[in-house]
Amino acid sequence: MSEPSSPITRSSPLPPADKISSLDTRLIDTTKTLTTEPKGRTGAARILLGRDAIMIYLLLAFVLYASIAIPRFASPVTVGFLLLDVIPVLLIAMPMTLVIITGEIDLSVASIAGLTSALMGVLWASGLDIGLVLAISLFAGVVAGAFNGFLIAVVGLPSLAVTIGTLALYRGLALVVIGDNAVANFPPGLTAFFTSKIGGTGIPTVMIGVVAVALFFGVLLHLTPFGRGLYAIGFSKEAATFVGIRVARAKFWLYVGTGSVSALAGIYWTLRYSSARSDNASGLELTVIAAVLLGGVSIFGGKGSIPGVIAGVLLIGTINFSLRLERISDVVLIIVTGSLLIASVVAPSVFEALQRWRHGRRMHKTLPQVPASGATSATAPGVQERK
C-alpha cells in the first residue's frame, strides 16, 4: 500500500511524527484523499472517451473503411441485407443486456424463439386467424420467460443451470409441437412486409419496431429508477436489497422481458424466411451473448450500456457481412467473432495491468525519498480514520 503515502511527501515537509495532533492528521488526510482521488474522467471526456464511444468509433471507422475499400458495400442492398441479418441478434441483445447487467444470464432465448416459431407454424396450419396466431405465439414467449423468472427469481436457482435446462426443454417442446414438419405457407402479404424496405433507403420496415424495442430497453435501463437499480443488483445483490430494491421482482420481470422479445425474434425469423421449423434460430444464444459482451457489458454484472451493445452487435454484423462480400466462407468467419470477443475482454485487463505497472514504477521513483518512520506513522492514523 504505497499509494496513500506518496502525496504527503510531495505536499509539504512534515513535522516529526510524534508532534502531529489528531486534528493535524485529519487535515493531512483530507488533502491526501483529494490528491489521490481524481482518477475517473468527468464531463464530456467521460462520454467521448468511454468504452461505448470507443465501440461506436470502431463501428464508424469500420463502416467507413468498408465503404471505401469494398466495391459493393456502400449500397442500399447491403444496408438492407445486413440489417435483416442482424435483427434477431439485435432484438434479443436488448433484454439480454439488462439480464447480464444484473449478473445473471439467459441461455434459453434461442429455444424460446424456436418454440414460438414452431407454435406459429402449427397454429397457422390448423387454420387460425393470423392475428390470433401471433398473439398466442407472443404469449407463449411471455410464459416461457416467466417460467425462467419463477425458477431463478422466486425459487432462487442459479440462472446458468436453469437456462441450460430450459434451453433443452423449450427446444424439446418445439419438437413436440411441430416434429419434423415445416410450415411455409404464411400469408404472402405479411412475409413480404417483413422483408420490405422503407422507400429507397434499403432500411427494412421492421427496423421501426426494432428501434422501438431498443428505445424501450435503453430508456428503461438508463433513465428509470428500475434500470439504475439493475446496476446496483449487478454490483452487489445484498447491498441492493438493503437499499430497498426488490431484487427478485426485478429479475422476474427481466426474464419475462427476454422471453417476450425472444418470441418477437422467433416471429420475425419465421416470417422473414417464411418457414416455421423446430430448429429455427438454434445456436443463436451464444451469438447474442458474444455480441452483448463485445458491447462492453461485464459478465460479472454492474457494467454496460445499451448504446455500447448496439454498436457491438452492428460491428460483428458489419465485419461478417463485409468479409462475406469478400467471398470468405461464412463458417470461417466465426473466428472473427471469437477473436473480437476475447480481445474485448482481455484488452481492458491488459491495459489495466499496464497502468498498474506504470503507477508502480512512478511510486518506486518517489518512494525512496520518504523517511521510512515518518511515512508509516503518518499513514497509520489516516488508514484507521477512513474506516
Binding site: V176, V332, I335, V345
Partner: protein, 348 residues
C-alpha cells in the same frame, strides 16, 4: 466446539444418533439422485421391453455414453473450480478431424502415436483456455465462448468440405469401439479408467482437494496459500487432454469426421455434469457423479426409443431432467443448511 458446560450426549444417545447419521450421509450423497434415476430408468425400460438389457443393448448404451462421459469428467474438474469450459465441443471436433487427417496422410502410423497426438493437441487448446482465464483474469464463460468460435472456425478453415470416413482408418482403430471385454467395449474401458484415475486424484490428492477449495471460495483459497492460478490452469489443461482423448475416440466410434463434428456438444456436457450433482457454482460434486449424469442423459434417449415414446419428446424430457436435478440439489442444500444452523445453535 463442545465445551465442558454443555455435556456431550451419553453413549447410548450417541450411538442412536450415529446410526441415522450414516444413513443420512448416504441419503445426502450428491450422486444418489442421479443413480436412483438411472437404476429406475433401466428397470422400468427392461420390464416393458426385455430386449433393452440384451448384451447388444448394453453395448450400445455404453458406446453412446463413452464420449460424453469423458467430456463430463473433464468438465466436472473445471466446474468444481467455479469455472466453465464451453469450448470442449470445438476441441473435440478439431482433434477428431486431426485424427482423420493423420490416418489419411500418414499411412501405417501407430495407433498409440495418434492417441498421443490427439491428447497433445487437446492439451494445447486447453492450455490456451487456461492461460487466458488465469493470466488475463477474465471469466471463463467469456473466454471459452470466444475459443468455442475460434476453434470451430479453425476446424472449418482446415476441413472445408473435406470429410474422412471410417474406410480411411485402419481396422484395428475402428475395432476399438467394436471389440468387447466382458461385455464392455474397449473405448468404454478407457473411459472407466479415466473416471477412476481422475476420481482418485480429485478425492485423495492435495491438488485435487485444492480444486474444491478454490471453487468454494477463490479468495479464501488464495489467502490459504493455494496456488489458485496454477490449479485452475491444471483443470483447464486436463479438460483439454480429455476432450482430445474424446476426439480420438469419436473418430474411432463414428464413421465420418468433418468440419462440424461435435458442435453443440458443450451445453449437453455441462448439463451432464449438473445432472450428476456437480454444483454449477463450484466447490461440490464428483467426477463419478458427472459420469453417471452423462450415462443417464445418453441412456434416456435409448430408453425412450425402447419404451416407444415419441422421439420428439426426448429433448423436452432431458430439459425436465436437468431442471429437476437443480431443484433436488437446491432442496438438499436448503435442508442441510437448516440442519447445520440448528446443530450449531445447540452447540454454542
Amino acid at each position: 466446539m463442545t465445551t465442558a458446560p454443555t455435556r456431550p450426549p451419553g453413549k447410548a444417545e450417541r450411538i442412536a444418533s450415529a446410526a441415522p447419521s450414516r444413513l443420512g450421509a448416504f441419503l445426502r450423497l450428491r450422486e444418489l439422485p442421479v443413480t436412483v434415476a438411472l437404476i429406475a430408468l433401466v428397470i422400468i425400460t427392461t420390464v416393458v421391453n426385455p430386449l433393452f438389457l440384451s448384451p447388444q443393448g448394453v453395448k450400445d448404451l455404453l458406446l453412446n455414453a463413452t464420449i460424453v462421459i469423458i467430456l463430463a469428467v473433464g468438465q466436472a474438474l473445471v466446474i468444481i473450480t467455479r469455472n466453465v469450459d464451453l469450448s470442449v465441443g470445438s476441441i473435440l471436433g478439431l482433434v477428431a478431424f486431426g485424427t482423420g487427417t493423420l490416418f489419411a496422410t500418414v499411412p501405417g502410423i501407430p495407433i498409440v502415436v495418434v492417441f498421443l497426438a490427439g491428447m497433445l493437441l487437446g492439451a494445447l487448446l486447453g492450455a490456451i483456455n487456461g492461460l487466458l482465464v488465469t493470466v488475463a483474469k477474465v471469466p471463463a464463460l467469456v473466454i471459452t465462448l470466444g475459443t468455442l468460435y475460434i476453434y470451430r472456425g479453425l476446424n472449418n478453415a482446415w476441413a472445408g468440405g473435406t470429410q474422412y470416413f471410417a474406410g480411411d482408418r485402419p481396422d484395428a482403430f475402428g475395432s476399438l469401439s467394436v471389440d468387447t471385454v466382458l461385455g464392455f467395449p474397449l473405448i468404454t474401458l478407457i473411459a472407466v479408467v479415466v473416471v477412476v484415475i481422475v476420481a482418485v486424484y480429485l478425492a485423495g490428492t492435495r491438488p485435487g482437494r485444492d480444486l474444491y477449495a478454490i471453487g468454494s471460495d477463490p479468495d479464501a483459497a488464495k489467502l490459504f496459500g493455494i496456488p489458485v492460478s496454477r490449479r485452475v490452469f491444471l483443470a483447464f489443461l486436463t479438460n483439454g487432454v480429455l476432450a482430445g482423448l474424446a476426439g480420438v475416440l469419436y473418430a474411432s466410434r463414428f464413421n465420418s469426421v468433418g468440419a462440424t463434428t461435435g458442435s453443440g456438444l458443450e451445453l449437453a456436457v455441462v448439463a451432464a455434469a449438473v445432472v450428476g450433482g456437480v454444483a454449477i457454482f463450484g466447490g461440490s460434486g464428483s467426477v463419478v457423479g458427472a459420469a453417471m449424469g452423462a450415462l443417464l442423459l445418453t441412456t434416456i434417449t435409448s430408453a425412450l426409443t425402447a419404451l416407444r415414446v415419441d422421439k420428439f419428446w426426448q429433448e423436452a424430457i432431458v430439459g425436465v431432467l436437468i431442471l429437476s436435478a437443480i431443484i433436488i440439489d437446491r432442496i438438499a442444500s436448503v435442508r442441510s443448511a437448516r440442519k447445520l444452523r440448528i446443530s450449531e445453535a445447540r452447540n454454542v
